[in-house]
Amino acid sequence: MSALSISGLGLVGPAGNTPDELVSALSTPGGPVDVTGMYEAELPGALAYALPEFSTRAELGRKGTSFFDRRTALTVIACGRALADAGVAVSEEIRDRTGIVVGTTAGSVRSSVDYAVETFTQDPPHLVNPALFPTTVMNCAAGQSAIWYGLRGVNATLAGGRTAFLSVLRYCRTLLRCGRADTLIAAAIDEFTPHAAWLTQLSGADVAPGEGGAAFVVRGAAAARGDAEVLDVRLGFCPRDTDISTALGATIRGVLDRAGLAAGEITTVASGTDDDAFKATVAALDGRAPRRLRVDEVVGDCPTAVGAVELAALLSEHRADPARDGAVSLLVARTPEGAFGVAAVRAWSRS
């Protein structure tokens, strides 16, 4: 039995707004763009994989968007595109059982840090903008998306950095298996801000900062076959004095065993820019080296959304190429602290 059925995908970011555009970008990456005019604050570099022309008002209108931060606006857009792609019309009948699960690293760091900055520059110090206070909480994007689409089902936000999206899939799988929702939107989004750019710089990433991400409509394993099924998704942690390759390898073999997959059936592996995680995966696949999918050349460093963009890339490739129908891929992620996640995904075209 698989863990989840995926029936729609919503994209936002510099790599395109549709599966076709993403496939084109993957074959012919556009490269980073000049972002020097985007913010008054100093940036660590002139280039980023960002949307310099993005305007919340132009995309979503004025009503209800005055206090959206960039992450919230991008999340609302991605959720809407996912619902449309899945053909889900939100009616009174499904509102209470339809929810949203969003992955994050620390919410909108620009929103919370700038709030802190205000308390050091205002006199008296509490003269912060009360209307912006909700943007400082990490569940702002999920909460605003629920308001936008009228979704009263489970609304959750999970923090996990590079493993956040796999945590989201695992959490959705548990909610759906336990009957706590019928339909969920699983999303992970990054925003390009000076704060995010400096964090990418400080992390030592050798890729320019990025933004955007993806959202997916997911249902329980019993749902009709959609674009893809998540055969299994597992999380783990590698505490002190233990070897990440061993732990990751054991988890990958466990995922294959439970899904009844042979190592040779894995056609593609995505592990971000993490070479060591890829090597550990190859070792766990008995040395067979499947194709490695990398999305950093089209979206830059997306420390939260990377897993969602990888899944979107896989689904988009499948949609463009019926010859790949039924192929299985692995998503692998880990954080510097030792958290890791693995998902096995089987996908199809829509033909």
């Binding site: 690293t105 919410g107 509490h126 206070f133 629920a146 999970l158 695992r170 400096w198 942690f237």
Partner: protein, 398 residues
């Protein structure tokens, strides 16, 4: 479905660190609220908070280097250390456990320091060590690292109901066989910017937090770590562990209406969903551990929802935020610890600072000022949050 029991409690709170001290604090109606020391409150019109001034991370942590982890992660890991000791679990027992931690603002003191550097000298002055400590996922990672746990590590960032979300996920994981043991709870830290935000919203009390009182003036920002050990009943029985309470069920829903103002209709629906999930009726509930922040609007909304869900026959309701202040992402977990103690030890924690009935809720018994001996078979724990993220859990006698 497997039965799930609570076998360990780990409170790191302003009214006591460790389960004995915390229970004594609840029974005595102790206040943990005092003058702010976590930041310079000069210029703020409200200068009180519920700080855990006695928290010495190094005295509780055996593995984590407190200099390399933020305050909230240290709260989570220290509380987890206490909870597993209370449960009598060794590191070998815990190897395959899971960890689920709820939080509102994650490493809010790290964010505060980030802001201080940016305000002073600009982004270039932000050190890499600070950036490393920023991710909120480190709250659960800290627990895994401290206790040597190799199972999954999840941080739920659903604001002030987050640790009820965490409890729910932990419950589902054990009930459906994903794990035998889950260490779960919540953590948050008092910080300058969140205090400023709540003050600016007009939500902060002048001196004390007086939930459900006619003359309540608001909440008090607070902090702490609150962790519980959940275990399958079978696993607990096999090792001869004592259980405080059983997890009976939970529910989550979303107002989808307003980011800040809660909605009674959806909250009442969440209460009904939780009761249905646990297979209970309103008459079964002996005690409600309220969200009870102490603001005029929130308490009125919670009371209205209780009145609706319980068809007017509401059991005693108390707010431990009157003692602790609002510990944000830890609040629901402190509520769970209080509810587990209420069940196991037979008392209702009080709502302190209570003087005057609110004429809008004459039927509400707030367990005013003094703890009360009572047999509690079922306790309901309420959690509400920004984003309309409602989460309600139910604990029962073993």
């Amino acid at each position: 479905m497997r039965r799930v029991v609570v076998t360990g409690l780990g409170p790191v709170s302003s009214i006591g660190i460790g389960v004995r001290a915390f229970e004594a604090g609840l029974r005595a109606g102790r206040s943990g609220v005092g003058d702010i020391t976590a930041f310079d409150p000069t210029g703020f019109p409200r200068t009180r908070a519920g700080e855990v001034t006695a928290f010495r991370p190094r005295e509780l942590l055996r593995v984590l280097d407190a200099d390399r982890w933020g305050r909230s992660a240290c709260f989570a890991a220290a509380a987890a250390r206490l909870a597993v000791a209370d449960a009598g679990l060794s590191e070998v027992d815990l190897r395959d456990a899971s960890v689920v931690v709820g939080t509102t603002s994650g490493e809010s003191k790290v964010i505060e320091e980030f802001g201080r550097r940016v305000a002073g000298e600009g982004f270039a002055a932000v050190p890499a060590a600070l950036a490393e400590q920023l991710p909120a996922g480190r709250l659960s990672f800290a627990v895994n690292e401290e206790l040597g746990i190799a199972g999954e590590s999840v941080t739920l960032a659903t604001a002030c109901s987050a640790s009820n979300y965490a409890l729910g996920y932990a419950y589902d994981a054990i009930a459906h066989g994903d794990a035998d043991i889950v260490v779960t709870g919540g953590a948050d830290s008092v910080c300058r910017w969140a205090h400023a935000g709540f003050v600016r919203l007009g939500a902060v009390a002048e001196l004390e937090c007086a939930p459900f009182d006619r003359d309540r003036t608001g909440m008090v920002t607070a902090e702490g770590g609150a962790m519980l050990v959940l275990e399958s009943e079978e696993h607990a029985a096999r090792r001869g562990a004592r259980a405080y309470a059983r997890v009976l069920g939970y529910a989550l829903n979303c107002d989808a209406h307003h980011m800040v103002a809660p909605r009674a209709e959806t909250i009442a629906a969440c209460m009904r969903l939780a009761l249905a999930d646990a297979g209970l009726t309103p008459e079964d509930v002996d005690y409600v551990c309220a969200h009870g922040t102490g603001t005029l609007a929130n308490d009125a909304t919670e009371a209205e929802a209780l009145h609706a869900a319980f068809a007017g026959r509401v059991p005693p309701v108390s707010s431990i935020k009157s003692m602790l202040g609002h510990t944000m992402g830890a609040a629901s977990a402190f509520g769970l610890i209080a509810a587990a103690l209420a069940i196991a030890r037979g008392f209702l924690p009080p709502t302190i600072n209570w003087t005057t009935p609110d004429p809008a809720m004459p039927w509400l018994d707030p367990v005013a000022n003094r703890a009360r001996e009572a047999k509690v078979r079922v306790a309901q724990n309420n959690g509400f949050a920004f984003g309309g993220n409602n989460a309600i859990s139910l604990l029962g006698a073993v």
